[in-house]
Point group: C3
């Protein structure tokens, strides 16, 4: 079974989409593929218990890939769409564009503390589409 999920983000941040994903799954057993159809946001499996863990993760990636107006990023050339754009592509390059999650009788086999997140890397709100397939 195949489908698409659509999300409106409020700009940069981690959005827990676990319940939205769980709600569309049929009663089948197989593997769920989630695939985000964009190059400036990511999918992520992460700790869903302590909000500080998500805050720290965002603080870390901002240090790893600073905005284009940061002195360390003076070498960037792709700048026409704003200082958050090329860093968003870089983040999207080394965080998952797709997730493959085993499913049993319509339930994802996630660990106790695992949540599924859509990670918006752009500053402005964006409309994001995730293609899914359960086989």
């Amino acid at each position: 079974m195949d489908g698409a999920l659509e999300f409106s983000t409020r700009g940069n941040g981690l959005y827990d989409i676990t319940a939205r994903v769980a709600a569309v799954l049929p009663e089948d057993t197989g593997v769920l593929t989630l695939f985000v159809q964009h190059t400036s946001c990511s999918l992520l499996i992460q700790e869903n218990a302590d909000p500080d863990a998500q805050r720290d993760l965002m603080a870390w990636i901002e240090r790893l890939v600073p905005r284009a107006d940061h002195p360390d990023m003076a070498y960037l050339r792709h700048r026409s769409e704003g200082p958050d754009d090329m860093p968003a592509h870089i983040k999207a390059a080394h965080l998952p564009v797709s997730l493959s999650i085993p499913v049993q009788h319509g339930r994802m086999r996630l660990g106790t503390w695992q949540g599924i997140y859509l990670w918006e890397h752009r500053d402005d709100p964006h409309f994001r589409r995730i293609a899914w397939s359960l086989r």
Copy 2:
């Protein structure tokens, strides 16, 4: 076909699990999904020939994501579970939580030098569970 593999790690390090994975595969052709049900360890395909390559990889990630008691990581807030915990979540965020490996007649189509590793990011020994599905 679906199942789960369980491992007891001896703490931080790379564990070659290729043989353990190969041993559970049925004689089918399809795609094997491995999915680790935790947020402080990772799955990895890497060079299996020179132990120095694995040592260098571990040295590199320690420099990229130092422990929480390192001065560079003073901004971290999620600290209740020890200085190795939040760095473990960060490593788990940008290394694979799942692997998708084509299988032919029960044999994984790995390259000559590719091994499958479970990467334990925590200092202490942990019990780790990997859900798998071959479709």
Copy 3:
């Protein structure tokens, strides 16, 4: 359906393989798995519009993982295959070895700006093999 794609790279760089992948797909619906059988190159979904975006991405990874003869990398031990070899393994460890892409009636459900790239991390030209499976 299963197969393999073979590429000859001209050394370090991003190679757009989208058309080559699209050309081998049968008229089926399912999920395409691409799996690169090497530990010193990667697969990537990235922006296919502005060549500067690809150039910036390459500039960024060279700064994140410098060559083994850079002073910052003095701790590396796996050096017998040249200064570009261990950095290539490190890049391969945290960029995708496999991609899972939903397919509808033989067409990949890629976003408008998404292209599929083979990222050669070695300096010299290499022969690279990608196993694929559509299920």
